[in-house]
């Protein structure tokens, strides 16, 4: 179990409170009318919502992995964190080169990205 405290309190309780608050913000962000904010930033409400959801998902992800899954604060946390990060390369490949491509990717890629144009 954890040998440290967060703000002088039990880390698991603090983590739990933090996660509950962040989730509440997520749900409220979806229900809230963000049209005014979106217009002032020159974009759509959906884009603002997506940014809020993404920004909140990152600390939630880290809080669960670091505190609940003991990737922080234990003797073996370092090597297990490296193990956990191992698929990051795979995730990067899948998200960037599969997830974010589009039907015209093969024809609209810059020349230097296409076969036979490596400048060799």
């Amino acid at each position: 179990m954890a040998h440290y405290k967060i703000l002088g309190q039990d880390p698991y309780w603090m983590n739990f409170y933090g996660l509950m608050i962040l989730t509440l913000i997520e749900v409220l962000a979806v229900g809230a009318d963000l049209n005014g904010v979106a217009e002032s930033l020159g974009t759509e409400e959906k884009v603002i919502t997506l940014w809020i959801l993404t920004i909140i998902a990152i600390p939630k992800f880290i809080m669960i992995a670091a505190i609940f899954m003991h990737l922080y604060g234990d003797e073996d946390s370092g090597i297990l964190t490296l193990t956990a990060l191992f698929p990051a390369f795979f995730i990067l490949i899948m998200v960037l080169f599969v997830g974010l491509t589009h039907p015209n990717a093969a024809s609209s890629l810059p020349d230097w990205c296409r076969p036979g144009n490596y400048g060799l």
């Binding site: 179990m1 698991y12 983590n15 739990f16 996660l19 509950m20 989730t23 997520e26 749900v27 979806v30 229900g31 959906k46 919502t49 997506l50 959801l53 993404t54 909140i56 998902a57 939630k60 992800f61 669960i64 992995a65 609940f68 899954m69 073996d76 090597i79 297990l80 490296l82 193990t83 956990a84 191992f86 698929p87 795979f90 995730i91 899948m94 998200v95 599969v98 997830g99 974010l100 491509t101 589009h102 039907p103």
Partner: protein, 344 residues
């Protein structure tokens, strides 16, 4: 067990086509493969059932350590579990990247509707995010939101179960009771999660009378199935894709459809959409996550029963720790599934 599980998935997939059951001949194989899985579980649990109960034979409780670099002196089972979780991460990454690929590659149904590039009676292929239905009112989003809180609370209760199992300065009976209660609470929350998922997918629920205004005046929240959001929906019709809905007041004035309707170059009507891809990515991803929750429920059932026998002591609490890692991972995946599949 792994072979049985693989055979189960293979035969189950062979028995269905576009959501319709077609393969009675596969049923014996499905049952046989399930039998192999449960026989494996039975053997495993039979060996574990008396292990470390009430601290008996605590001198003989033994957890093998890794000897080689880089995991020297770390429990082998813990390392193995992390390896398993990382392979699981790759599975979910594949599902996420597939979702992103189609989400960005196929035009959104609302965009197609507003472009006016459709005619009534002919289906157009477009991407209809489940969030269009789920995030349309506070009532629609309620099951998913409650599930999110349920999973976070269950992540906390499993941590508490481990904390009490490892606590040395409490009486045996108190420890037994606390561990059992926290594991039991986790089990109840997991059951709640799947129940709400079934309600959201297949059943729906009535809106409380005085609050129907918050649900656009409707007295019932229809399930996704009842809304026609299915993997074989090639002629999906949503009320929002009707030029007569709200007398067309919802159609943006700067859209091509609005201009066409004003000029009389578009006949109007209700757009029909082929949303098989979007529904499939939604059900496969959230269903895979739900299957993990179901697996957790099976494990929790056994662990709660064992906890009632005093099976978890400070010398023998690693099973809760390792199950906890798996359960937190399930929560972690939901942290990403919920915003991107349910809210956006």
């Amino acid at each position: 067990m792994s072979a049985g599980f693989a055979a189960f998935l293979f035969t189950l997939a062979a028995a269905f086509e576009w959501g319709d059951f077609i393969g009675w001949t596969e049923v014996p194989l499905i049952l046989a493969s399930l039998g192999v899985v449960f026989f494996g579980l039975l053997i495993w649990w039979r060996q574990d059932w008396s292990y470390g109960v009430d601290g008996k034979d605590s001198k003989h409780l033994w957890e093998p350590k890794s000897a080689g670099s880089p995991f020297q002196n770390i429990d082998i089972r813990k390392v193995a579990l992390w390896m398993f979780l990382m392979s699981e991460m790759m599975v979910f990454t594949s599902l996420f990247s597939t979702y992103m690929r189609y989400r960005f590659g196929i035009p959104n149904c609302m965009t197609v509707f507003e472009s006016g590039e459709w005619v009534e009676g002919t289906a157009v292929t477009c991407f209809e995010p489940a969030a269009h239905l789920i995030a349309s009112s506070w009532f629609h989003i309620a099951p998913g939101a409650i599930n999110t809180f349920a999973l976070i609370i269950s992540s906390f209760t499993i941590v508490q179960a481990l904390r009490y199992a490892k606590m040395k300065d409490i009486e045996e009976d108190v420890r037994k009771r606390k561990v059992m209660r926290y594991l039991g609470t986790t089990w109840v929350l997991a059951i709640l999660f799947l129940t709400l998922k079934m309600i959201e997918w297949f059943i729906g629920f009535p809106t409380p009378g005085p609050l129907t205004d918050l649900n656009h005046g409707h007295s019932e929240i229809a399930s996704l199935y009842a809304e026609g959001y299915t993997i074989n929906a090639d002629s999906y019709q949503h009320y929002a894709y009707d030029t007569m809905y709200h007398d067309g007041k919802d159609i943006p004035k700067d859209s091509a459809l609005y201009t066409m309707l004003q000029e009389g170059t578009h006949p109007g009507g209700q757009m029909m959409a082929n949303i098989q891809v979007s529904a499939t990515t939604f059900y496969v991803t959230t269903g895979t996550h739900g299957a993990h929750v179901l697996g957790g429920i099976i494990g929790l059932t056994y662990m709660t029963l064992k906890a009632a026998r005093g099976g978890y002591t400070p010398d023998n609490a690693v099973s809760i720790e390792y199950f906890g890692l798996y359960w937190h991972f399930v929560d972690l995946v939901w942290v990403l599934v919920f915003p991107f599949f349910y809210l956006y």
